[in-house]
Every structure is written in structure tokens, then in C-alpha cells.
Symmetry: C2
Subunit: 254 residues, 2 copies
């Protein structure tokens, strides 16, 4: 009896639906490479005889696969559903969902962004190619040009700059996490900044900060790039973070 309590614990059993079996098989075929990007699955009516299930079952399976970005159905295509090239779209979507739904405080988001973008700049400073450096210079120039076109335009150019840096790291996860957390932070805060009394002054100091970071990247000084990037994020957002949570951001400024 002690055995039954301590060792022989059973897991709850859940019925396996037919459409899940279909998903599994197709998923496995794609992941094993038996079905490469660009290739086509049989039509729904053909799949339904191969799997020996009804069309609705096939369709539900295809819906799941489609929402995971593995296949795409196009009405009228006589070749059937097409296997899509691997993309990080699903990852980005689920990450955005989590960030938007789990009631994250601004402090957490800014802290995370400081973490990601700091390291991104550090890596970019050490790993960038000359072409990538040129892209960053161009992105900074875009920001300067957007100064007179209003805050919205400037903000777009700002995001583009950060994206260029992220791309230079060569790390997909940094790009995705960076993009997601940037979008969420901006969406939480843009109104307040746009209506700030001296938004032009804000833009100017922001531009200067970006220029300083880019200098460090140009010099290949990863540590300085990271420090400056974190510091400028802090300067930009700290005032919107409740004072009692602001201390959590300080350990990242060394």
C-alpha cells in the first residue's frame, strides 16, 4: 500500500482524438524530411481514404498544422496543401501571446529588454561584418531623417535600428525575443511619450544615445556597447516604471 502511494502513481488518461493521430503522422513526415518544403500533400479527399477517416477529421488536422506554420492550403490548387518552409512565425506568435496575456509589468518587460538588447549589442559589436555595420549606419541615418517627420515615424526608424543590430548577432532567438518585447513595450508606452511636452528633446537625446552605442559597435567594444545600450534603455523608460520596482533594473547598469 505504501508502494501504491509512493511509487505506483498513475497519470490521468486522456483519449486520443483521430485528428491528433493524423497531425502526428504528417508532422513526423515533415520533421523527418520525408516531406520537404515546397512539396505537396495529397488532397483532402485523398488523405481521407489514406487515413480512413472523414473529411472533417482531415480538415481539423490540417488546420492545426496550418496554425503551426507547417502547411498551407490554397483553395483550388489541384496539387493539394503545400508544405511550408520552416519559419519562426509560430514561435513569434506564441511568444507575443504570452507576453501580452501574462500580465507582465512594465518593469519586467524593460528589464528583459535591457537584458536582450544589451547582449545583442555586445554580440553585434564583436561579430558584425562590415556590411552589417553599414546597415546600422544607414538605420541611424534613417532615424536622423525621421526627426522632422513626427514621433511615429521616428519610432519606426528606432525599431528598425534595433532590428538591424539584432540581425547582426546572427541569432534567431535574439531577433525574435527582441522584436516581441520591443513591440510590447512600445505598445504599452507610446501614447505617453508621443504626448510628452518636449517629444523633440526626447528624440534628440535618443538619437545621441543610439549614436554612442553605434560608436562602440564600430570599435568592436562589446562590453561598452552593452553597457551603453542598457543605460539608454533605462534612461528612456525608467520614468514610466513605478519607483519601487525601479531598483530591479539597477543591477544591469554596471
Amino acid at each position: 500500500m505504501a508502494n501504491l502511494d509512493q511509487q505506483l502513481r498513475f497519470a490521468p488518461v486522456s483519449p486520443v482524438r483521430a485528428y491528433e493521430r493524423v497531425v502526428e503522422q504528417i508532422e513526423a513526415a515533415v520533421l523527418d524530411g520525408r516531406l520537404g518544403p515546397g512539396e505537396h500533400l495529397p488532397s483532402e479527399r485523398e488523405l481521407m481514404v489514406q487515413f480512413d477517416v472523414g473529411r472533417s477529421t482531415i480538415r481539423e488536422a490540417l488546420r492545426v498544422l496550418q496554425s503551426n506554420g507547417l502547411v498551407r492550403s490554397r483553395p483550388g490548387d489541384p496539387r493539394g496543401p503545400q508544405v511550408q518552409p520552416m519559419s519562426s512565425g509560430a514561435l513569434e506568435k506564441s511568444m507575443t501571446m504570452l507576453a501580452r496575456a501574462s500580465a507582465l509589468s512594465l518593469a519586467e518587460l524593460v528589464q528583459f529588454r535591457m537584458l536582450i538588447e544589451g547582449s545583442a549589442n555586445q554580440l553585434a559589436a564583436c561579430l558584425r561584418t562590415p556590411e552589417q555595420l553599414a546597415e546600422m549606419e544607414a538605420a541611424l541615418e534613417e532615424m536622423r531623417a525621421a526627426l522632422d517627420e513626427g514621433f511615429a515615424e521616428f519610432s519606426r526608424a528606432d525599431l528598425a535600428f534595433h532590428e538591424t543590430v539584432a540581425k547582426a548577432t546572427g541569432n534567431t532567438l535574439i531577433q525574435i525575443c527582441g522584436a516581441v518585447v520591443r513591440d510590447v513595450v512600445v505598445s504599452l508606452i507610446e501614447d505617453k511619450i508621443a504626448h510628452a511636452p518636449d517629444s523633440r528633446a526626447l528624440m534628440l537625446t535618443s538619437l545621441q544615445h543610439h549614436a554612442n552605442v553605434l560608436d562602440a559597435v564600430r570599435d568592436g567594444d562589446g562590453e561598452r556597447a552593452a553597457r551603453l545600450a542598457r543605460q539608454s534603455l533605462y534612461d528612456y523608460y525608467a520614468e514610466y516604471v513605478p519607483e519601487e520596482q525601479r531598483a530591479a533594473l539597477h543591477p544591469l547598469l554596471y
Copy 2:
């Protein structure tokens, strides 16, 4: 005509399917908090009159939502599909997929993990409460106790230790991203390590590394904790990263 070429570029038009509209609406309701975890949607037959579509359309929408982890349908439940608490399951799944399809290299994953866990230790060193420090000590003790219970058990204790550190940062995103990337990295590599000729030696050095990191955390020395954490991850995983990609990890070791 120059106008048409340079400015008036049209985007490809894609028909919006009915089930997508249904997904959008329910998704929005969940994200806005109008529908909280644990609450129930109307039954499929009820939804089908509310949205004025057929049942198959409703079902395909629910399949998508279910595959994204937002709702769960249970046959026979008279209350209808239930909204699920937010979980990182979908995120983990899509990241695992990408990794298995080799759209994510091990180098990227390890690099990202070094980044996250380095900063996590840095924050934990500065922000931890005495209780959290005690939890980490306990987790390390668990690892020591697991030394003789085989590699699988040791690995579990290892992951638990990292989770404790992540929790001490107080940052949800760090916890989630950390957990996901840890799981993915481990699942990619565990066989190779478990069958290593001297897995006990590996465990011993790993234990020592963790103890060193914990020392730094105890001292409140964030920078040292970060450096040690990154270094030990590098030492642990570098040999499995193809040599030509290993250089991308070095900028994080300063």
C-alpha cells in the same frame, strides 16, 4: 507611372476564411481579459448561432485555439470548452520544432541560454532574498544527493537549480524563456552526455561549477555570477557545438 512603381505597390490579397474571424474574436476576448482562465465558452452549437456559421467552422476555429493552448475541449462537459491558464507549452513546442528541423542550431540555443542564464544569475545575485538563497542552497544539495542516482536524476536536479535561480530574479519572461531553452538544449543533447564514458566526472565538475556560481550569488557579486554561469555553460556544451560556430559564443566570455 514612376509613382505606381515606387509608391503605389499593392500587397497580395488573401481571402479571409470564416474560421479565422472566429479565432480572432475569441483570441481577442481572451487577451483582453474578457475571458479569464477557467471560464468556459458557450458550447459549439451555441457558438455556431452566435457567429452564424456552421459547426465545422466553429470546430476548426476551436482546433486552432486548442493547438495554441488557449482553450481545451472535453467531450461531455456541459459547460463547454474551457479557457486554459497561460502556459509556455506552445512556445516550447514551436521552439522544439524549429530546433528539430535544424532551423535553430545548437550554437544559437547555447548562445541564447548563456545570455539568459548569465543575466539571470547577475540579477539573482543582487536581488535575491535570504529565503531564495536558501532555496538555491537546497537545490544544490539536491544535486549533490543525486550524484549517485544516475545521470537522469542529476540532470533533473540541475534543471531545478537553474529554475530556482530564475525564480529569484522575479522576472516572468526570464523564467519562461530560461525554462524553454533549457529543456530544448537538454533534449537535444542528453543522450550524448548520458552515454559519455565518464559521465560521473562530468557531473562532478558540473557540481563544482554550480557551487562556484552560488558562491558569487551569495556574495551578491552579480558580475562574477554572470561570468561564471556563462563560462560553465560554455565548458559544458562547447564540445557539442561545431567548431566553426563556436566563435560566436566567445564574446559572451569576458
